[in-house]
């Protein structure tokens, strides 16, 4: 069954696949994860702030994002971002943003909804005595969050945040629908150019599988280490 396989096509395109494709995928994953966690934390703080309106808005945002398929959100932002850019900069026509920026904005906004739920659980897992003690010491709300609550919440939730980042890493393959040159996009371009769908898609599957497996194994190790410390 492997007799007609042309494994050379993989070797020939390794440079393109990894230097361009995988770099795109990993950069997008890392920046989206950082942006998503920052935004997500802000949303979680809004939800827990005690201001009804603020909490309601944040809750609606999270529910809204979580009920839409990522593919639809990718399309939304791809067409929406130029108009928002025009509105923000006051330009006379929709600004053209690169494919990468558009994808980055999409993933930050989309993943923020998921990260915010994780951070919310993390913040709620901190015992009430902690903010109360910080308050008694005269720390302001911002200081309490910055120095007491968030560091602990972040630490407790680190394994879950990283697991979600692995999901995000897999989800970035969906930029394929905008024919962007991420790892899968690059593999698919080579596949279609050389008529080698089987080899390229199998290879892509193996690469995604290996990276995700190694990463989730690492997360499990980390979780074991953290849980001993606590």
């Amino acid at each position: 069954m492997f007799a007609t396989f042309d494994f050379d096509v993989i070797r020939r395109s390794l440079g393109y696949l990894f230097l361009e494709g995988m770099t795109f995928t990993l950069t997008l994953t890392a920046l989206s994860a950082v942006g998503g966690i920052i935004f997500g934390t802000l949303i979680a703080l809004m939800r827990l702030s005690g201001y009804k309106l603020l909490g309601r808005i944040a809750g609606l945002y999270v529910d809204f994002m979580r009920s839409l398929p990522l593919v639809l959100v990718i399309f939304w932002f791809y067409f929406l971002v130029p108009y928002v850019g025009q509105w923000v900069t006051g330009a006379s026509r929709p600004v053209s943003v690169g494919a990468f920026t558009s994808a980055l904005v999409t993933f930050i906004m989309f993943e923020a909804a998921y990260f915010s739920e994780i951070m919310r659980a993390g913040i709620q897992s901190i015992s009430k005595g902690q903010p109360a003690a910080a308050n008694a010491l005269g720390l302001t709300y911002a200081q309490t969050m910055r120095y007491v609550v968030l560091p602990q919440a972040f630490r407790n939730m680190l394994p879950v945040l990283l697991t979600q980042t692995i999901v995000l890493f897999q989800d970035t393959s969906l930029v394929y629908v905008l024919s962007m040159p991420d790892f899968l996009g690059a593999a698919s371009k080579v596949a279609q150019r050389d008529g080698r769908l089987v080899e390229m898609y199998l290879f892509a599957a193996v690469v995604y599988f290996t990276i995700s497996c190694v990463a989730s194994f690492g997360v499990r190790r980390l979780q074991a280490r953290i849980s001993i410390v606590r």
């Binding site: 398929p69 639809l72 399309f75 939304w76 969906l174 899968l184 892509a204 995700s212």
Partner: protein, 243 residues
């Protein structure tokens, strides 16, 4: 914003001659629901089998369950769909491959099976966690009464476990429906796909996507309401979800 809104676009005839743009979106919605339900049935069946395997005392069984879950969880859904759609027919004996490729509605079956198996790994994890959360006494009492392992699962463990994991199953069902949108890449023209082609034909991007968004929200509301009802009917008195 320099965008020409035109909300009456939905009532204009779509190219293809099968009705208005609104009918086009409705047919997409219908296909999304069909694919989602088929995929969900597959996810439930396979997920249940694997979930049970993961909780059995046999090392082989739990290893099989572990390998299955890791296999389907560590690859992007899009890649899995490509494997089913482009790679599988080439790896099978020639005549089978040809039959697969000539199958009418191939994207539909591929999407239902691909999304179904992808989600089955998640259902398996939920069910295994549900079974593991039961007090040890349940299994022991069943054994003491002389029930075989399969009887213990059939009459004691599973009926409770399924009811405990209803809330996470609801969100997995919603995820299944949402994930069918990925099948746009193998040519399944479901709701997102119809919105996309409406945008290409009419240039009314935001109207098309708004309509699709509203339809997805409606699906969510219907599913959540239905599952809440089911949860309340099936709740076990004395448990957190019960009365």
């Amino acid at each position: 914003m320099s965008y020409n809104w035109n909300w009456s676009i939905f009532f204009e005839p779509a190219p293809g001659g099968t009705g208005t743009y609104f009918d086009m979106l409705l047919s997409g919605l219908w296909l999304t629901i069909q694919t989602g339900v088929f995929a969900w049935i597959i996810a439930l069946v396979f997920g249940s089998v694997i979930g049970v395997l993961r909780t059995l005392p046999s090392m082989t069984a739990s290893w099989v369950g572990f390998a299955y879950v890791e296999f389907f969880r560590n690859m992007p859904l899009l890649v899995q769909l490509f494997l089913w759609f482009f790679v599988l027919p080439e790896l099978l004996p020639r005549s089978w491959g040809l039959w697969l490729k000539q199958l009418p509605n191939a994207p539909f079956y591929t999407a239902a099976i691909g999304v179904g198996l992808f989600m089955s790994a998640r259902v398996a994890v939920q069910l295994a966690a549900g079974i593991a959360s039961l007090p040890r006494g349940q299994k022991q009492a069943a054994t003491a009464l002389g029930l075989t392992t399969s009887q213990a699962y059939r009459y004691v463990l599973l009926p409770i476990a399924y009811r405990i994991i209803m809330p996470p199953l609801t969100s997995e069902f919603l995820n299944t429906i949402k994930n069918t949108a990925v099948a746009i890449t193998i040519g399944l023209i479901e709701l997102t796909g119809q919105a996309r082609s409406m945008q290409e034909f009419s240039f009314q991007v935001f109207e098309a996507f708004t309509a699709a968004t509203v339809m997805y929200l409606l699906i969510n509301i219907v599913v959540v309401t239905g599952m809440r009802f089911l949860e309340r009917r099936l709740a076990i008195p004395g448990y957190i979800t019960g009365k």
